[in-house]
């Protein structure tokens, strides 16, 4: 019999809701740290996990100091040609857009306009919430959908701030001169992305959420890691992959013309960013890294992929809307099973897995792990060197999110 086995739900039974959530959160955070199989990976991620999840530094104060450990690679001879990357640089220079000039900021964004909703009502997981006993009035549903839009765009903005600094760091660290040229354009791109998301939130939605703890962990880890290729891998492949999934989902759902146009421009830039990442990493991983170093990076990418898949659960919205009405654990279940999350995961891994395969981080050993996580169906897809910005937009628009049932 099970009388002596104390399971987590039973342990929490009878405790007040707030205490249940606190224990669930703490154990969940602990699970993140202990789930990392590779000890080296766990050791490099631990400080960021501690700062982000345990101390919650992103939830307080005006700024966080992130001490950077990388070296600047200053070229004395201006060697290190990489013609494909120079080509990418020329393309980036030719395709710069202007966040002020090219977007119609005079567009009247009324989040409650049913004809042009920022976040339509088929996005939020209302059915999942109802199954947990949460019933919202039509007015509350509209307000909640708008808050999801603000939360999502806030995370895009925080991610872009991280991308701006990471792009600057990799421009310093990378050894090819052509990569430095290209990197400079990416710094400009990320600055512009930060500008347009900030402006949209500030002037149109007028509500901005704090940086999500789990996003903060990834950004903190990248920006403080001393190895340039880990920054590259993290920023250009993992976070850009995450961004493509998230931007693509929002692009497909929103009916608000200014936001749609804004996302289209941003996605087209992201196509170049990932292309740059795979060019640099395929060369580096194939020629410079030892088998042990490759194994560590494979593990690191896998852990970050799972972190991205499982942990963007918008807890800020839970605390704003449902604390005291349902448990945090139930909320996580609702979000993980939401059709919009399935769309996000599909679009993210559609691009991420073929890129990891192309750069050489998909050995049979790690493939078995991805297989267990149900992600190998994306193997063999097109990688970033085979896709233009237009291809990405077309594929995103062609993807039909599963309908709620």
């Amino acid at each position: 019999m099970s009388a002596n086995i104390v399971t987590l739900p039973r342990m929490l039974d009878g405790l007040p809701g707030k205490a249940q959530n606190t224990i669930y959160s703490a154990l969940d955070n602990l699970r993140v740290m202990t789930s990392v199989g590779n000890a080296k990976v766990a050791a490099t991620m631990a400080p960021s996990v501690f700062r982000g999840l345990i101390l919650g530094v992103a939830r307080d104060g005006d700024a966080v100091q992130m001490p950077a450990q990388h070296s600047t690679h200053f070229s004395l001879t201006y060697g290190g040609e990489f013609p494909e990357m120079y080509e990418l640089y020329r393309r980036a220079v030719a395709n710069q857009w202007d966040g002020d000039r090219d977007l119609d900021w005079s567009t009247d964004v009324d989040p409650e306009n049913p004809e042009r909703p920022v976040m339509p009502l088929d996005y939020p997981p209302f059915e999942g919430l109802a199954a947990k006993g949460i019933k919202l009035t039509p007015k509350e549903k509209l307000r909640f959908a708008n808050d999801i839009a603000s939360w999502t765009l806030s995370q895009f903005m925080h991610g872009e701030q991280g991308a701006l600094y990471a792009a600057a760091q990799v421009t310093e660290s990378v050894q090819w001169m052509d990569a430095k040229f290209y990197g400079a354009t990416q710094v400009m791109d990320e600055g512009r992305h930060l500008e347009v998301f900030l402006r949209y939130l500030d002037t149109k939605l007028q509500k901005t959420y704090v940086c999500n703890d789990n996003l903060f962990v990834i950004l903190d880890d990248l920006l403080t890691d001393s190895r340039w290729d880990v920054k590259f891998l993290g920023m250009q492949i993992m976070v850009e992959g995450l961004a493509l999934g998230a931007f693509g989902t929002m692009y497909n759902f929103t009916r608000e013309p200014l936001l749609k146009q804004l996302l289209k421009y941003v996605i087209q830039d992201e196509a170049r960013h990932v292309h740059y990442g795979v060019l640099a990493l395929r060369e580096h991983i194939g020629k410079e890294l030892s088998p042990a170093e490759i194994r560590e990076r494979e593990d690191w990418a896998y852990e970050v992929a799972l972190l991205m898949r499982n942990r963007f659960l918008s807890h800020e919205l839970y605390y704003e809307w449902f604390e005291g009405r349902m448990s945090l654990k139930d909320w996580d279940e609702v979000i993980l099973n939401a059709p919009s999350m399935a769309a996000f995961r599909h679009l993210m891994f559609l691009r991420l897995i073929p890129n990891l395969e192309y750069i050489g981080l998909m050995s049979d050993r790690i493939k078995a792990h991805y297989d267990k996580a149900g992600l190998t169906s994306f193997l063999g897809g097109k990688n970033a060197t085979e896709l233009s910005g237009e291809d990405l937009i077309r594929d995103i628009a062609a993807y039909k999110a599963p309908t709620p049932h």
Binding site: D202, K207, Y209, E316
Partner: protein, 350 residues
């Protein structure tokens, strides 16, 4: 081990959006390609344009572009209003004047496929999204250009809206957009339209204009045409008891005549910004201030809109004529930063 809670969820906001977003659009011109040249009426041409970089150039109905043509090695700037509905093609309609340097260039030399530069769009002669009442619009001569854009846009968004148009033209051959108005009237019972031909009936006076316009109390009135005609319309509506706060006017001025500018640098003090700038030969007050990174208001850059109006506190400036500055503004010491240059060291209130 336990995350801090309760937590900060929303970032604090100030009293409104950041001031940086309020800056005017940059003065960087866009290149546009002439896709089509359409003969609109006698002495009137419509240029259908596409941005040469294929990025959209969004505009509001009733706005204008500042067109920059290189004629005989010199940049000539002209404001021409957009005549297409919001969201439609980029089309500007131009009245060709017998002595018009730019309009003659357009009529005689500009060809489909040519590329030139534009600034903008600019102007606030636009629909108020919060106003859902009836619209009454007076367009005289090429003043019909923004009017047709406003009418088509308003009816596309609300096909049942009550819209009244009064069109004042010299004669039928010069009349603009009659075919478009007729097509609109067929499908929109709320649209009424009167045309005055001055060659036959003479110029309408204040009483006649007030009778033709006859706005309801909830109406928004738009006036675009020669200054005297707009003044007469406004006087007539005031006499009829209409609230002048609900009238919008678009100023129209002829192209400025270029006058010689100083050939030596001249110091300018921007008092409120606490900046001193050397105006270089050929520069306007606006050029000098923007070069120094000051956040100055401007829009059309050719003395036609009044957005760059500044008060001169000390010193002499040379202002190109004609321009849209009103006599009372001149008397109060104002000039237009885009069309004025300092001829002696000056201090301006900006």
């Amino acid at each position: 081990m336990f995350g801090r809670h309760p937590r900060r969820i929303i970032l604090p906001r100030g009293s409104g959006p950041a001031a940086r977003w309020k800056q005017r659009p940059s003065q960087t011109p866009r290149r546009v390609r002439v896709e089509k040249i359409v003969s609109e009426a006698q002495d009137a041409i419509t240029l259908v344009l596409v941005p040469d970089d294929d990025r959209p150039l969004a505009f509001r109905a009733g706005q204008y572009l500042t067109h920059i043509f290189e004629i005989d090695g010199r940049d000539e700037r002209r404001i021409y209003s957009l005549s297409s509905a919001e969201g439609g093609a980029l089309a500007c309609t131009i009245r060709v004047l017998p002595e018009g340097r730019a309009s003659q260039f357009i009529a005689r030399q500009l060809r489909e496929g040519d590329v030139y530069r534009v600034l903008g769009p600019g102007g606030d002669f636009t629909l108020d999204p919060a106003h859902q009442g009836s619209l009454v619009l007076l367009g005289a001569g090429s003043g019909m250009t923004p009017v047709i854009s406003l009418v088509e846009t308003a009816l596309a968004s609300d096909p049942q809206r009550s819209v009244r148009v009064v069109d004042v033209q010299h004669d039928e051959a010069h009349a603009l957009f009659h075919a478009r108005l007729r097509a609109l009237a067929q499908n929109h019972p709320g649209l009424s339209w009167d045309s005055v031909v001055t060659a036959v009936e003479g110029r309408p006076d204040a009483v006649r204009l007030a009778h033709l316009l006859r706005p309801a109390a909830d109406a928004q009135v738009y006036l675009c045409g020669p200054q005297a005609l707009m003044d007469a319309a406004e006087a007539g509506l005031k006499e009829a008891g209409f609230d002048l706060q609900h009238i919008r006017r678009e100023r129209f001025v002829a192209a400025p005549q270029h006058r010689p500018r100083p050939t030596q640098p001249v110091p300018i003090v921007f008092k409120r910004s606490a900046h001193s700038v050397e105006q270089q030969p050929g520069e306007s007050l606006l050029d000098a201030g923007l070069r120094a990174g000051l956040k100055l208001e401007f829009s059309c850059t050719v003395g036609g809109c009044g957005h760059c109006k500044v008060r001169v506190l000390d010193g002499e400036v040379l202002l190109e004529e004609p321009n849209c500055l009103l006599p009372e503004e001149r008397a109060a010491g104002y000039t237009l930063a885009c069309s004025a240059c300092a001829t002696t060291p000056v201090t301006v209130d900006a």
